[in-house]
């Protein structure tokens, strides 16, 4: 990939991936309030806010991170499967996105119950929290970011074969 497009995609990738972490941090604040607060008004607002953040910010940023990450990997010398740190980053991002997408149904259902006027305060207090997912997700995202910054050494057998083939045989594909 040429320098201009590469820097553009890289910038995009940095914006959406770091934005993803920030959005999860904001979600986490609301998530904590569903556990610490016993004010029904705050609980209803927190669940509504969590649903809004997940649907309109976190999911789009996650998908954009995955797409731009794949594009930037394929467009540079790092490749997608040539280095362990890229493979692990990809794997963690795919898993985090999959869990996130499946989690949206739970969050929407929680928000729906919380917004229902017939829901009593006792029912609000008894709603499940998604704290395990939000804390776990944030830790995974921080791990991915750290991995991408340090880029620890280690070439996969596939990367080694590609490199050897490129040097010796110059095979296509």
């Amino acid at each position: 990939m040429r320098s201009g497009p590469r820097k553009f995609v890289l910038s995009l990738h940095l914006i959406v991936s770091i934005g993803w972490i920030g959005a999860v941090a904001a979600y986490l604040a609301l998530d904590v309030s569903t556990i610490t607060s016993d004010d029904p008004g705050i609980l209803k607002a927190a669940y509504a806010g969590m649903d809004l953040i997940v649907q309109t910010v976190i999911v789009p940023l996650a998908v954009a991170t995955l797409v731009t990450g794949i594009v930037i990997s394929l467009g540079t010398r790092w490749g997608l499967f040539r280095h362990y740190w890229v493979v692990i980053s990809l794997l963690l991002t795919v898993v985090a996105t999959a869990v996130l997408v499946s989690e949206t149904r739970t969050v929407s259902a929680l928000a729906g119950i919380a917004a229902d006027p017939s829901t009593t305060p006792e029912e609000l207090y008894a709603l499940n929290s998604t704290l395990v997912h939000s804390v776990g997700g944030l830790l995974v995202l921080i791990a991915i970011l750290t991995l991408n910054v340090y880029k620890p050494r280690g070439m996969t057998p596939y990367g080694w074969r590609k490199q050897s083939g490129g040097v010796g045989q110059n095979t296509s594909g």
Partner: protein, 70 residues
């Protein structure tokens, strides 16, 4: 016979065999495995209704209130 570069797991392996898996990958895999086992054990010990079924719609409770209140 073993090429020095191939046994280190580094990026610069140019020997006849692929480089070994780096130590940090093995350590990370071990940590993830231990964490997964600990999580499963905790879920079994503590109980609770968390799991993949919770997201599929097959599991009943979105909130524990269905069993506590309803």
């Amino acid at each position: 016979m073993t090429h020095p570069a191939t046994s280190r797991g580094g990026d610069g392996g140019r020997g006849e065999t692929p480089p070994d898996m780096p130590g940090w990958v093995k350590v990370a895999a071990l940590v993830v495995l231990v964490m997964a086992v600990v999580l499963v054990v905790i879920m079994f010990v503590v109980g609770g209704d968390h799991g993949p079924r919770l997201h599929t719609g097959a599991a009943e409770p979105i909130g524990a209130f269905t069993s506590m209140v309803g």
